[in-house]
């Protein structure tokens, strides 16, 4: 098991290296940030001084190596536009997004999996058909539209929940969190619901497909022959057997929501990282873009690692080097 983890960590490091190079070159190709940074009527001297100051006169590979060197020390550079370290910038926004993404994925899992298992267990029942129709809706209706409808319904017409912004937060470990107070939760609910819809639909579909398949298996027949109740079979046998694809999707969705909750964050003016990346792209703020993308890559690699380790936890057959017959 330890060898497996070390092997996976090495793989992760390689992925990170490749990713940082791709991002760096990609962003380099987008355009020259100097045109955005200083006014067009600045003198040639000022212009060249600025270029030297940001190290933009060096060849690409030198710039990249310098970037890598700083990266290893945990320094993602300083924003061209705001003149704040990128790390500070991202970490001041990340908790808000982290909270939102986690809330939406959890809603998706805790509501989606039971609904999906039921739909797979009783595929012909009217309720199951309703659940499936709902999941089609979750897939096909655009997020921004759902967001607007949610605001219109619950904030404007019913006036139950706030329409946007983050509201009050509670400081824990030097970071502000919304989910710890009732009021903060109210602010979190609508955007989280909005983001969770797609994940809900996905979890429903996956757990339904898995359940349908497992219900026909000899494992379930044998459990029935032993006199287990249907509920016990679903909870103890089926749920465990369908869990691997669910964990995969849970991880991937969590990662992509963290990185790309842009639309929802914009609609609900949620002060997360999505908003940050959009701003940095429009101002060609290269360090922020590169730093953010490298961070996102890091998050994905970490999440995938955790998912793979969870597999081993869920399916004993994947525990290499474990006890063997």
């Amino acid at each position: 098991m330890l060898g497996y983890i070390i092997q996976r960590l090495l793989q992760a490091a390689l992925v990170m290296l490749a990713m940082s190079a791709l991002v760096f070159v990609g962003v380099y190709a987008i355009g020259n940030p100097i045109d955005v940074l200083i006014s067009p009527d600045a003198t040639q001297d000022i212009r060249e001084a600025a270029i030297r100051h940001y190290g933009l006169d060096l060849p690409l590979w030198q710039q990249y190596l310098a970037f890598l060197g700083r990266l290893l020390r945990g320094d993602l550079g300083t924003s061209f536009v705001l003149n704040i370290p990128v790390t500070d910038l991202v970490f001041s926004r990340l908790p808000a997004t982290l909270e939102l993404a986690l809330a939406s994925v959890l809603i998706g899992a805790f509501i989606g999996i039971p609904l999906g298992v039921y739909a797979g267990y009783r595929p012909e029942s009217p309720l199951s058909r309703g659940i499936m129709a709902f999941s089609v809706l979750g897939f096909s209706v655009p997020t921004f539209w759902i967001g607007l409808i949610l605001i219109l319904t619950f904030a404007v017409n019913l006036d139950w929940l706030p329409a946007g912004d983050r509201g009050p937060t509670v400081e824990v470990l030097g970071v502000g969190w919304s989910f710890l107070t009732w009021e903060g939760l109210q602010f979190l609910l609508l955007p989280a619901l909005n983001l969770s819809l797609f994940k809900l639909a996905m979890m429903i579909r996956l757990s339904r497909a898995g359940t349908r398949e497992v219900m026909l298996s000899d494992t379930v027949k044998f459990a029935r022959a032993a006199g287990l109740s249907e509920l016990t079979i679903l909870r103890r046998h089926v749920l465990r057997l369908i869990s691997i694809p669910l964990v995969t999707v849970f991880g991937l969705e969590f990662g992509s929501t963290l990185a790309f909750a842009v639309v929802t964050e914009t609609i609900f003016s949620w002060p997360g990282v999505g908003k940050l990346i959009i701003d940095s792209i429009t101002s060609l703020d290269r360090p922020v873009m590169v730093g953010y993308l490298v961070l996102v890559a890091f998050l994905f690699v970490t999440i995938n690692l955790v998912v793979d380790l969870t597999y081993a936890l869920l399916d004993p057959r994947l525990r290499r080097g474990g006890r063997a017959a």
């Binding site: 032993a226 016990t232 046998h237 465990r240 057997l241 869990s243 004993p316 017959a325």
Partner: protein, 323 residues
Amino acid sequence: MSALLEVAQLRTHFLTRAGVVKAVEGVSFTLERGEILGLVGESGSGKSVTGFSLIGLVDPPGRIVSGSIRFDGQELVGLAPDRMRALRGKRIAMVFQDPAATLNPVLTIGAQMALAVQAHGGGSERAARDLAARTLTRVGIPDAAARLDAYPHEFSGGMRQRVAIATALLHGPELIIADEPTTALDVSIQAQILAEMKQLAKQSGTALIWISHDLATVSSLADRVLVMYAGRIVESGPVASVLRAPLHPYTRGLLDSLPAMARPGEKLNQIPGSTPSLLSLPPGCPFAPRCPRATDICRSDPPVVTQPGRMALCHHPLEMAAA
């Protein structure tokens, strides 16, 4: 004391899009306490569906359309699902063909067996594991208490089937239905499991219905044999006399196709053709199109031919002709 199991005119049909598949069509038999009954037939003869009908686990779109299954005097056809579940695993247990598929790969065998124990009257986790370990020891798994925390893939095929058998034995059932439990195993393991099952059944007075396509396996194990064809029992009787002098031409055909019965160097006789589609059975005797003795009369329903302790469903039974 009445018989443990009395099945009368059991009919289990599958209502499919293509039509009604009459998988079990008028099956009747009785089973005494502690008796070992072999249920033999080719694939699609309805032997497995008969087994699943008895334990109330016919998958939709199949269902028991008529007939009666009396278990220890209690009617099982139409019994409430909850009461049927209370019987399953407790008084009637079942073992399946492929232990790799029946055991849950992601749960330890201790956890799976504990679930089976607690399905009938709970008790503590610890007591459940104790019972599981004792039962595993009974079926010949060494160091059972330590093996409870192992997963199915850590056992060999034969050991896995022993775990499945132990799960069936947990509550000391009066009837075990074994659906080809040795087919997926190595030949040497087959013989072992067969002998052990026979011994366990005799020791505990458990009745056993052994479903198999293999007449040779059944002959070494069972007291009595039922031969099924196209959803019907075409012949039944004590194993020895059925093997020595089959009444039905189909049984004869099955016997002739056994390598053990043939002389070395001689070509094996196989039954021409294959099992008919249950969707479009010929009128009369379903075996007639493949039968060497068939005549025009076989297009009408065959009569029941009886001898003491024996029965066959045929217009032209073999022994009658000889007699």
